[in-house]
Symmetry: D2
């Protein structure tokens, strides 16, 4: 073959299998999204359209990759948990991390116009991705607690900060100055006394971030009431896992659907109600 | 801090620096592009729009990442050479490979409508990416020779195959049967005697693939004549490296521009004329 | 400094930390020990002196490295379990695996003359080492079961094989032929009917391999009866963990001692009695 | 098979091939040799017996592993260069680094009594090992320059330091104080004016370290004169590479021998005279 004398260069591709039977967390972060959000006029402190677009891209990814059993998103980042028994791409790290990053990015751009019909994309946004392995259930609990605690801290700060700027008329410098050194309780007070905002009544989407769970579809969905409790409109947020003919393997697996929630995942309740997430 | 008791989970992120002073080849491949090209009606054996879109996404990537000094594309794959001294993201492998994959993907979807104005994207396409390190100049020469030899082999086969099907009226099964066991010379003969096609007159874009070089912009461009020779329309294919204000570092570097070629990169001429590609 | 212009070469040393909070199994294997055992006249099927030397080198290693909580040896191999919380050498893989391999090798050669007083070492023996990470308790149970099952299979085979050769007068070729295709039960029968050997009465050292556990030293050793049950002579096999003044860290840790056993580690009993092994 | 249900644990052993066609440097360092040299009464600043033992262990290693083409040793460390085309153990990193570390350690203990006939080994010494990859010739030149520059700096310091203590009667604290902030020239002066020692006449072994080269054995050794120049006693230092019957592969390779030198390897001369070292 003509190319055979060159094909030795393939030997420089080294294997990179992930440790078996270990939880795989895949996290995406927006690349230079500070600039991206400015250029595209994102509303502060939270742009609902932008967050919904992130959620929809995450849902698309979970539709496509059944090994993902849980996702959590806030701002311009999203974390995905793959079952510890996942054998996707023979657990080749780079193959997994690049394919998932690419598909998420593609979905984000593909669906942009639905969420920003009046704001054309100015340039192609990008994300970086990473994979972190966790050996034990507790690590996964703590990983997702870490992200949700981060959401809380950031959102509280941003909510007060932008209230000071947008309603209080402060410069951004002065707003940062006002908040320097304040603890959580003081931020709540500023919000309430100056702006009559009870932080606990702020939309859970912003306070809790986005949680997507994959659940088996049961004849009569016993989850409906729970969805109602979380204030989620099931029609919009539930994306059925279409049985696509190209995927033969999934034929004999139980059909699943994804549900988008904005609930606490730090306390035990969420996990006790869904033992299958950490089961393997 | 609220999240501090969970933040130990960050320690599970392990470092992955690439070996210093080693050539970095980054290659992208379309994920399930056989299906993607069918769904979007790509012309066989080569869809010029699809190839141009790939080229433009590659050019965008090179505009954004100055460490890329050479690229080669064919079909749904693209290879990029980063200077061996590149310090992009401190040479963190996953950061580099995911960010570049994401940006290329994003550009591809972002510019789709320009190349397929009458063919709406049906679903988000994706790519996988990988990084391969090469220690020596000869490996890089051989790597790119390997890809261009592959282009030649595939394109010759596909050109005869689709001539047999589209002009010869054969079924795809019969066309494969006709070609089984044939060597290069026989394929040339079938093309010429049955279809009056001189393979050497087929568009170089298809026979050679796409080559993108980064070159310093000189007061009077001495490359203009060479571009003319390669039959490239400079207005379309040359994308100036805009000096973007956000990038302070590049301010003091000489401005560069990318040139798209469809030329031989197996023989020495290409490399002798461009010693800077392998210089470091 | 004179060497400073060269010291950039240090940057090529890449980090290799092991995943945190994961069990570390370190396994050593004799390098070309078939030849080594021939040259030094090891008794077949089992040379007690050689096995005891392996055990003593393993004990030395455990004395030196407190993170090792369990070891299992058979023939010319030894496996060591490090606590999953071990922070030895900041969990740098190569540092750990080379240092432990070196120290074991050194101890083996250092103590050779005690176990082979009449057989001078002809040339320096060597071992290879490897580290395997396991995320969960069950993996560790299964890893050690795998090694002990291997001990059983090899020892039964070797016991019958050498009885056929040494007592039955067969050539080694004929002995292999006789055993080809036989199952465990048939091997037991050959041993019993031809050589009046009840395999279950063969020394447990050979049938079970060597197990070394690290245990806290308690005022009155409650383990004495158990040791008696396992037929172990505590005076010989227990090596006290000397409180070496150079090791400041271990000062405030409870003193431990190692106990050598030849007992079953596949069933639950061993592990139920020693929950601290897998505790962390 | 009895062990089959456990054997899945083997899948946790991950591949670790080294990048092909890249220089492999293997470096050993004594573990806690400060204490080891005290306990065994090493002469200060340099113990010739200890250095010769290191050299002999290095020579043994090179006899055993033909892929090693160059070695450099100083104090309790030794570096070995493996040809960039080496395929030893399929370039599996851990296999190579542990086997070489083990064999060196074993040789060191095995030959101890020859160099320290009156000093019994008190406890087993150990070494750590590491592998560093270098893509280019210049890196190898700089790596070995780095080590030899280090030898020079350390030996000059130690020579003055111990002269101050042993001949000058200073405490070690005072000796360190005297040397603090001095440059090379000042150290030379202290040596010469206070102790009548011309540093340039100190044994090259101490000033240059140990260099071992592998050379093909030619009918009439043209290297004899060069060896004489380096002041090396060929009878003692040259260890013929015995053609061992067990190694079939090496049968058709030219026989080689190792030569121990104490010469400059920073300047070009050494390398110009031995182009085969970096040839591949």
């Amino acid at each position: 073959m003509a190319g055979s004398k060159f094909s030795y260069v393939r030997n420089f591709e080294l294997p990179d299998p992930l440790l078996p039977d270990t939880y795989i967390v895949f996290r995406l972060d927006g690349h230079s999204f500070h600039r991206f959000s400015d250029v595209h006029g994102f509303v502060k402190p939270n742009d609902k359209r932008a967050l919904e677009l992130m959620d929809q891209a995450a849902l698309k990814l979970m539709e496509e990759y059944r090994d993902i059993v849980l996702a959590f998103g806030e701002s311009d980042e999203y974390s995905f948990l793959l079952r510890r028994s996942a054998s996707l791409y023979n657990r080749r790290e780079t193959k997994i991390v690049t394919t998932l990053t690419s598909f998420f990015t593609s979905s984000y751009v593909f669906m942009w116009h639905k969420y920003f019909p009046d704001t054309p994309l100015q340039y192609p946004p990008s994300f970086d991705g990473r994979i972190v392995l966790y050996p034990r259930e507790q690590h996964i609990r703590d990983y997702f607690s870490w992200r949700q605690a981060d959401t809380h801290i950031n959102n509280l700060y941003n909510t007060v900060f932008w209230a000071l700027v947008q309603q209080g008329g402060l410069t951004t410098t002065d707003a940062h100055g006002t908040l320097r050194g304040t603890v959580s309780k003081q931020k709540h007070e500023i919000l309430f006394t100056r702006f009559q905002i009870n932080y606990n009544e702020v939309d859970e989407r912003y306070r809790k971030g986005s949680v997507i769970v994959r659940e088996e579809v049961r004849p009569t969905s016993s989850r409906a009431s729970i969805d109602a409790v979380t204030g989620e409109n099931a029609e919009e947020s539930t994306v059925p896992d279409r049985l696509q003919p190209k995927k033969k393997k999934s034929k004999d697996k139980a059909p699943t659907q994804m549900t988008l929630l904005h609930c606490d995942i730090i306390k035990d309740d969420f996990w006790i109600a869904r033992p299958e997430i950490l089961a393997g």
